[in-house]
């Protein structure tokens, strides 16, 4: 049991360490001062209050989307459409925010957030329904819906929602009323942290403490067995698609009503895929995702700060995120795997990865 849990922590940790070592080696070979880069990263992400604030500002969208993706991945549904779901949610919340126009914030803001969550969930369910009812590959459809959402945002920011105050060139929308904003442009505030804490807690409870959470894992591990156990796998599938889409929509609303205040065409372009990496590095668990989101939030903050203090361009830090993404799904070096296979001969590839905790819980269900 301890071994299984240790492996779940150690694997992502070693991937991160290896990736950092590789990238630092590249910097060193290219003649950058490695110590200056490390100092710059720390100064840009944690060692001062504004830096830490920047880290948290970039942690929030990664965390919210990462949690949703983690739940979908647990059920075995490869929802890679978080980017589009976030855009749709952001647009829905902005429309409500602009409609508000002086009405009481206590009415408009919750309404905007509900609209964002619903919009994200619907966008995600489009891929989910095609998968669950027709069997169309959700990787492809959710990816397609990302591109559609990008174009939709492009259209909205240059057409119907375009700011009349702007210079005419920039594709930016009208800003929402300052009274509706839940944070200043720093993107950190008590209400944002409360939202994040609530979603982390909800995900942790859903995944680890409820029957539905167990069913989600069962469907992911072995859909056939799940059906034999009487799990409504279509229902579980729709739930995880709606949940992950809702989380991404929420992230969009937080961005709109928090740091941004208005929408810009193609904002935060990489965050959807980075959230997938966050979910994987976090081992698809709520607290793991929280830690991973802080780590990647810090990297993002550092990558914006670093070009100011060193000669390393921003893309240098993006290399590190890329290296982690390349390595994170590696499930074992061949030598180790061969030894394992000899030890437990009858096990099928991958089956040995079932966490002991899950097996125990599963037995409980069987005897019940």
């Amino acid at each position: 049991m301890i071994a299984g849990r240790a492996r779940r922590v150690l694997r992502p940790l070693s991937v991160v360490v290896i990736a950092i070592a590789l990238v630092l080696l590249v910097y060193g070979l290219l003649g950058y001062s490695v110590t200056a880069v490390v100092d710059g990263v720390l100064a840009g992400s944690v060692t001062s209050l504004p830096a830490a604030e920047q880290t948290l500002r970039w942690t929030v969208p990664l965390l919210l989307m990462g949690l949703g993706i983690a739940v979908a991945f647990r059920a075995g549904y490869f929802n890679v459409g978080a980017q589009g779901q976030m855009y749709v949610g952001a647009m829905a919340s902005l429309v409500v925010g602009l409609w508000g126009d002086g009405r009481a914030p206590v009415l408009v803001v919750p309404l905007a957030f509900v609209a964002a969550v619903l919009a994200g969930a619907v966008w995600s369910l489009a891929a989910g329904l095609l998968r669950l009812l027709l069997g169309a590959d959700e990787v492809v459809t959710s990816l397609m819906l990302n591109f559609v959402a990008v174009l939709l945002l492009q259209w909205a920011t240059s057409g119907p929602l375009k700011s009349r105050a702007g210079t005419g060139q920039a594709a930016t929308t009208e800003s929402i009323d300052a009274a509706y904003r839940i944070s200043s442009s720093t993107g950190t505030s008590v209400s944002i942290f409360l939202i994040c804490a609530a979603v982390v807690a909800a995900t942790a409870i859903l995944v680890d403490w409820t029957r539905t959470g167990l069913e989600i894992s069962l469907v992911g591990r072995n859909p056939v067995m799940a059906r034999w156990q009487g799990v409504n796998s279509t229902g579980v599938g729709l739930l995880v698609f709606a949940f992950s889409g809702g989380c991404a929509g929420l992230a969009g609303a937080v961005e709109t009503f928090g740091p941004a205040g208005s929408l810009r065409s193609g904002f935060s372009p990489q965050v959807g895929f980075m959230a997938v990496v966050v979910a994987l590095v976090g081992g698809l668990g709520a607290f793991g995702v929280l830690l991973a989101a802080v780590f990647f939030g810090a990297l993002r903050a550092a990558s914006l700060y670093l070009p100011v203090v060193t000669d390393l361009p921003q893309s240098g830090i993006d290399l590190l995120s890329g290296a982690i993404a390349l390595l994170i799904t590696v499930t074992g070096i061949p030598v180790v795997r061969r030894r394992q296979r000899r030890r437990r001969a009858p096990s099928v590839d991958g089956a040995s990865d079932v966490p002991d905790r899950l097996v125990a819980q599963h037995r409980e269900v069987v005897t019940r």
């Binding site: 490869f78 819906l145 492009q154 997938v276 994987l280 290399l319 890329g322 390349l326 994170i328």
Partner: protein, 301 residues
Amino acid sequence: MMDLLVLCLQAATPIWLAALGGLIAQRSGVLHLGLEGLMLCGAFTVVAVTVRTGSLALALLIAIGVNLVVSVVFWLLISKLKANAIIVGLAISMTAAAATTFALVNIFGSQAAIHTDAALPRPLDLTNGPLAPLGKITVLTYVAVALTVAALLILTRTRWGLRLSVCGVDEFAARSAGVNVVLTRLVALCVAGVCCALAGTELALANVQSFSENMTQGRGYLAFIAVLLGGVSPAGVAAASVFFGLADGLGVRSQLGLHGVVPVQFIQMLPYLCTIGAMAAAAVINRRRGVAPPTNADDLT
């Protein structure tokens, strides 16, 4: 009319070439989402080498070499280290965007676009007459046509093509029949890498003759989509690529002509919406035929 046709062909060619690579990869059973990154690597290498040496042939050779290395890394990660092909593919696209920008700054000192004088040969030299616009088409468009025919012949008329396709359809059956699935995939991914080098070359040298940061702008993903929309067959892939070129060309046209009637973004959405429709239709047909729907993603935790 001829102008529009040439415009569409020019827009279609990079997507077409990359899609042929994606087709071979997908036939071997690998969903290749790294096409975008490979195209970007190819475009950068070609422009960087021609700027430094002035030799187009050498540039093309080095670009192919770089893409082969990236493709072998992709293969190592997904087949030897059992990483998830979709995540690694997306990661390659992301890393390539970062790496080419990083290299741009490191070699040329700034993030600004780099220009080159090298131009691709244009076989038809028609200065006037009704067919004059055809003279703008580069040699790589003809290469795309030739490669499509070659792919068709290889996939339908050769033993290797059959083996390749079996790897994608039923890996277990392929292994039982004595096909080395892992090695076949290596070859397929290398072919995809070479195709993407050509695609990047066409993208960088056909019209703009320069490399700028992230210049593929999703064309690699369009190529991936063209493979699916084209039903994973050479003729279908060619048709889908030309259709995307058409959507692109019409998008440019509608910006000029149909001012404001249909927003250009909605025309650009067509390829994606068509693909979703096609995927749904294919799933329904497969279900009728009794083919099992795709299995859930595994090996993630």
